[in-house]
Symmetry: C2
Subunit: 117 residues, 2 copies
């Protein structure tokens, strides 16, 4: 799993860190780019509870299960792929220019992560 | 403003509706594709309060101001552009294939919407 997270950040230009986390805010595993000062665990933890609320909203609207959440802010972008009811994987991008590529890479590797849960 | 919302849905294939809404969940204006049964107002209202929470999370993490939020579910995708502290514009896509184009079109027209607020 560590290898997959490492591959994710290596393959996405501008990715500072990747993390596999439970919706309870507890990190399973993470990978950080060398020399990055992004605390991916704090970021993902802070958003995890909010993501549960988004999932509830989608369900109540009969939009079905949420698969992807992207939050872009001035200081960074968090792209998230929901793996199942319990876990998600998030990547923090300092540079949003490669958002499209990031989403694609994350989706591709999420399949492998989900298979190991 | 109505014209801008109309243009947004006309220029994004698969867009069912577009709405300009306050973070208090009160709709300012909306446009819906003919024959669409998507209740864009209910969708945006349900998410508006959750979006405030995401903004608070980003601020507490010093990620800065959130500019874009994308929520993709099995039954539809909501792309949102934050206009200012009070208002956002959201587009509901039934078909997520044109998500990239949708984000781009939304961003382009959001400037015009923000100028009229």
């Amino acid at each position: 799993m560590q290898e997959i997270l490492q591959k994710i950040i290596e393959n996405i230009p501008g990715a500072e860190g990747a993390i596999l986390m439970g919706f309870d805010g507890i990190a399973v595993m993470q990978a950080t780019r060398d020399a990055s000062d992004t605390d991916i665990e704090s970021v993902a933890m802070e958003f995890s509870f909010r993501f549960i609320e988004l999932c509830k909203a989608a369900e109540s609207l009969e939009m079905g299960t949420i698969t992807d959440i992207t939050v872009k802010a001035d200081g960074g972008t968090l792209i998230t792929r929901v793996l199942n009811e319990e876990f998600f994987v998030s990547v923090f991008l300092a540079d949003p220019r490669h958002l499209g590529r990031g989403r694609w890479i994350l989706r591709t590797h999420a399949v492998d992560l989900a298979a190991q849960l």
